[in-house]
Amino acid sequence: MAEKNMVEAIHDAMFEEMKRDDRIIVMGEDVGEGGVFRATDGFVAEFGEERCMDTPLAESCIVGAAIGASLNGIIPIAEIQFADFSHPAFDQLVSEAARLHYRSNGTWSCPIVVRTPYGSGIHGGPYHSQSIEAFYAHVPGLKVICVASPYDAKGLLKSAIRDPNPVVFLEHKKAYRAFRQEIPDGDYTIPIGQAETKREGSDISLITYGMMTHHSLKAAETLEQEDGTSVEVIDLRTVSPWDKERVLGSVKKTGKALIVYEDNITGGFGAEVAATIAQDAFDYLDGPVTRVASPDVPISPYSGILEEYILPNPEKIAEAIRKLAAY
């Protein structure tokens, strides 16, 4: 066991997988010198420039070429420097990666991973902060993972690399170096599509993912101490496919659902969770299915003052828990 932060865990996941299987390569901007977040530090020394390849500044071609390489015996991990810069590759992800298997009636497939740092709270301004999971969770044929802790990141990234489908792997950049966690020495994976109950509770089910998991846990602690409210916190970890069973099971137990996400409230992934709970657990509900998310403004303004005002935080979450608990 060793303590690692999330970038180190991601680094290790790729490193170990590339050691295990020489079909795996990493491609992206600046990955050769270690990447702007250092996730591929030392890769060129270990694997050479061909397996850790700097690409021209052209995201559509990074993803498109990854798709093509995956057809011909390579397993590419494409790094997009920031999730905000995946938009030029939207067509390649949505029209191509997501649809190739389906449109060819199951005869072609494209095992690629598109890794990218996402999320706000680091003074990134409106172009180094976006949450993009809802765009891609909407598209059948893509798997979408959101991680914000070292252990989950490593186990899920390994699963993503081994998955025969295209996977969009979103790493919350605020969590890169914010936490350290014990990581087992040996190989381990976490199944895609499995949520984790990060905290057991009986009064309210709080469903969240990404950085909001940390904020939600903090809020849950506060509520336990100050109000004696027992909040169950479920980290989805994967938003497509997502773990409906665990979420519905918990809501049926507590009778109350609070969904917390960082993205804009309208059409964010939590809206899908809310709709599912409303439809499938209606008989069990003792209060309104409630959401805490960012208002509908571009996430997020650069100024720390403006950014803080927009984003959900433990205080805003705690307030929502109190309101819901009162029902």
Binding site: D21, R23, I25, E50, R51, T55, P56, A58, S60, C61, V63, G64, A65, A66, I67, G68, A69, S70, L71, N72, G73, I74, I75, P76, P88, D91, Q92, S95, E96, R99, L100, H101, Y102, R103, S104, N105, G106, T107, W108, S109, P111, P140, G141, K143, I161, R162, D163, P164, N165, T189
Partner: protein
């Protein structure tokens, strides 16, 4: 390039191969015509025609090794698909959206050719998105030290897209084993080339990516074949990509939904019909003594018979199970790369 015995000798083509080329061109033409007729009869909602492009398509595809080299075709490439090895039955299953359609099982539009065994890769409809895939396949071949090459086919309109540029640039930087084939027919639906770009020959752009570009007569199958052979040789020997721009003309509307009289004069179409690549090649083969009236008739009959039989067969075949629409969103059966 005039088709002379000497010229043919330099290509190293036998009489059988010349006849084979001619046959593929005829077959492609007949399959296109048949689909247009069937579409008008209401037997399929839509069709794309490759008529007029047969020399570019057969001339380039003939230089490839089917099942080893990678083909990223676009909707006009019926002759590419046939030359690499797809059959009229397989093409028509796509047209009729039959259950056993190898390209897509009735999911994609017709003429979105795909055939894994032949390494013809499934494409989508957004223009030029297949070009980065061709780059990726070539990159993989290079990384894996295989002598496979990859070919990206596209129209003149595609050259305006970001994906085209990003791909040309990437291929140049990595000296990839690939060929870019532009089937230059002067139109993107109704938009003429002069509104597409401010240059005459798109091949000049290759210099901006650090590799050669050639412009040639796309209605001369042997000229195309000659240039493609060169390009393939370059690619295989690690010298990098080539852009081939083959000037041609589509003799039919863009698709069954298009009325080209709105944007092309009948005189222009007529002029190009005079240069029909199939007629031109047949004449040369006559002059060379490779083809005579009798063998030409036989060849035509064979092609027609083949397409008739394919049509009859495919029309009888089953349509897809409705619930198959739910399948293959993800890889089934828990396969893993692990």
């Amino acid at each position: 390039m005039a088709i002379t015995k000497e010229a043919i000798k330099t290509f190293g083509l036998t009489e059988e191969q010349l006849l084979e080329m001619h046959y593929k061109m005829l077959l492609a033409r007949a399959v296109s015509v048949r689909q247009r007729v069937l579409q008008r009869m209401g037997k399929g909602p839509m069709t794309f025609s490759g008529e007029g492009h047969e020399a570019v398509q057969v001339g380039t595809a003939f230089a490839l090794r089917p099942g080893r080299d990678w083909v990223f075709a676009y909707y006009r490439d019926v002759a590419v698909a046939l030359t690499v090895g797809m059959t009229p039955v397989e093409i028509l299953r796509g047209f009729f959206a039959r259950r056993d359609d190898i390209s897509s099982g009735g999911r994609n539009m017709p003429s979105h050719f795909s055939h894994p065994d032949l390494r013809i890769v499934s494409g989508s409809a957004p223009i030029a998105t297949q070009i980065p895939h061709a780059v990726g396949a070539a990159l993989a071949a290079k990384l894996r030290k295989l002598d496979e090459i990859s070919v990206a086919y596209f129209g003149d309109g595609a050259t305006s897209t970001g994906d085209w540029h990003e791909s040309m640039n990437f291929a140049g930087v990595h000296k990839l084993p690939m060929v870019f084939v532009c089937e230059f027919n002067g139109y993107a639906i109704s938009v003429p080339w002069r509104k597409q770009a401010a240059i005459e020959n798109v091949a000049v752009r290759a210099a901006g990516y650090g590799f050669p570009g050639v412009t040639l007569n796309g209605n001369d199958v042997l000229e195309v074949y000659g240039a493609m052979t060169e390009a393939v040789k370059r690619a295989r020997s690690g010298e990098g990509p080539t852009l081939i721009e083959a000037k041609t003309y589509r003799l039919q509307p863009h698709s069954s939904d298009d009325d080209d009289r709105r944007y092309r004069t009948r005189e222009e179409v007529e002029q190009w019909a005079q240069k029909d690549p199939i007629v031109v090649f047949a004449m040369s083969l006559h002059e060379l003594g490779v083809l005579d009236d009798k063998s030409e008739q036989e060849l035509n009959d064979r092609v027609n018979r083949e397409v008739d039989e394919a049509t009859d067969k495919v029309e009888q075949e089953s349509t897809p199970e409705p619930e198959s629409a739910l399948r293959h969103v993800f890889v089934e059966g828990g396969a893993s790369n692990g």
